[in-house]
Symmetry: C2
Subunit: 411 residues, 2 copies
Amino acid sequence: LIPTRADCLALDAADPLAFARERFALPDGVIYLDGNSLGPLPKATTERLRRTVEQEWGQGLIRSWNEADWINAPLRLGAKIARLIGARPHEVLVADSTSVNLYKLASAAAALRPERSVILTEPGNFPTELYILQGIAEQLGHKLRVRTVARDALKDALDAEVAVLVLTHVHYKSGEVHDMAALTARAHEVGALTVWDLSHSTGALPVELNAAGADFAVGCGYKYLNGGPGAPAFLYVAERWAEAARSPLSGWMGHAAPFEFVDDYRPASGVARMLCGTPSILAMAALEAGLATFDEVDMAQVRAKSAALSELFIALVEARLPGVFELASPREPALRGSQVSLAHPHGYAIMSALIETGVIGDFRAPDILRFGFTPLYTRHVDVFDAVERLDAVMADRRFEHPRYAERAAVT
Amino acid sequence: LIPTRADCLALDAADPLAFARERFALPDGVIYLDGNSLGPLPKATTERLRRTVEQEWGQGLIRSWNEADWINAPLRLGAKIARLIGARPHEVLVADSTSVNLYKLASAAAALRPERSVILTEPGNFPTELYILQGIAEQLGHKLRVRTVARDALKDALDAEVAVLVLTHVHYKSGEVHDMAALTARAHEVGALTVWDLSHSTGALPVELNAAGADFAVGCGYKYLNGGPGAPAFLYVAERWAEAARSPLSGWMGHAAPFEFVDDYRPASGVARMLCGTPSILAMAALEAGLATFDEVDMAQVRAKSAALSELFIALVEARLPGVFELASPREPALRGSQVSLAHPHGYAIMSALIETGVIGDFRAPDILRFGFTPLYTRHVDVFDAVERLDAVMADRRFEHPRYAERAAVT
């Protein structure tokens, strides 16, 4: 039985997370299914930034490093993220970008296994992982090499040569979820360490770093955490590594006593040593307001609603557009993150035409239409209406119009 | 003859840069002599951020990467900074922090001189330089070592072992200016490359990177450029190195085709390869508004007024408080940046008491009171009034009160 629009409205009326939608300033007429790429503007962010800019910066000036506690923003925000990823508050830090943080932690992890020569990862996932690891290998003059192995073969590829296993927990394109606990356990059996990229996981599904025994992790602030475009990223260092791991990016903010201005680097105690330069306080303020959209939100309810929304989407697409798209995400919801990908040879043009109807997803080369289902503000009825508009785009084949042929700079 | 307050008001009336003060939202009752640490809020920043947050992010959502040209912000802002530092527009990029950028460029420069083993710098300057260089040396397993040599001996220390000379152009504490052209020429004579940190130079005095033959440079967005607390930093790669220099931080935004999502890193052409992760667009927007405070501003006039303000300050301090402070900056204005430092054993307490009077400078361990003279908004009469309040703080010895004894987290 195909769900009707009335069914969807009934599901929304019974949704225990419905209260959270009021926290967002969503544009009229838009169904936003791209919060997995850039989270929307929380209502509270505008006022928070006004205060940070006009009061703290404008009036407080340099004094606000102490008086507005700017100096502790990286650790304060890290502690708030910790709850979402199953970490202790003092294991998480907000700093820099995901790519820079990955560089720090992959380098630090490899240095903890100096007798080993391999960084193991998978091909075809979000490429900044591979690019950063290739940069580390090149820089170290091939003392380390990057080995890529398809995900099914990762467990068997873990051997005594592997220093570090670096994986993105939820695949950026397919949404497929790695078994973090099993892969971490296997890595530890062979003496390797793990670095998990949680960019497509944090705020999308419950993550349990401590329970999985994870060593290191990084993640993104601008997707499900709603921190704004290019928001600062975070990193996690398991307590047991906090005094041993060293960042190659040993900037002054990670020094044990940055305001003593001594000549020799001495790392701060704990995760704070993973700071490098001065963080953007405006970006931190926006991310802190973004994190507040998760206040009183139960991540188990987020996961349940995420599965329900994506199941609904797949059911409606397959019922209304049978055989048109290939499902490019796992069919089993437990194996998916909070997104569904559909493959189609005209993917770019179809997504462009769909966006013009007000349904915003994104395209990922070469042929993927990607739809994110963010439970804090997406309703069942939004999913219903989105599929209706996708149906309309396919029905009149408007995507074949030449204006959809040219790729934009950012897709 | 000691200048009077009336003299100062007359100088302000004749100041060709007086128009620029209207561009700033300065708090009432404050004389802000710390723009060399954190520039004040430009009036236009509030509206620019409102537009970026509410319109571009809130309404445009992910589409603003193309439609609001977010994707080109790093190069667009870099081109605006180029004018201030004597560079070609395509040689400058805004990204990350000064520390991270220094890591990229010092690593890249060293890799261009693989047969050499020394990074040369000076002791006692802003320590993130030393910390970052120590991190590079440690990471590369002592293929490279950091040699520190007092500034008078730098020219003689440049020899065939030196791969890279890394120096801060204007000393963070004393304000002393290195002779960039002479040191660069000497470095090139022995086959070494140069990385200049322009954090205390950019927007403070004319800088001529191209004319000096400089190879690489980094600098700060939150001091004289008024980009907001922790604003993104910039970096410069001389055109002749643009296709040879490689960033060890090879993140996806520096890829030749980031949205193709291929597995192998291939650097973008030109300075864009020095991008790493996704930049904070909110921080970029604030920096762009900060850069606009330099529109129609002649850097030669900035330099002339800077010298006049700092000369006035020294003259007034020495006339009203003879023998009380030791001048910790060069006496010759041509050898100073846009700041004056005074040494006093009770420096921290004196600065704390002075800040309570509304005159904001800062303290630098162990004994330096530091005063920045930023010509866009500082008036001659501000300098006069600041010295009057400093005189009052010293006259009644209020700084000896125990409440000034305890150092704040950030000084």
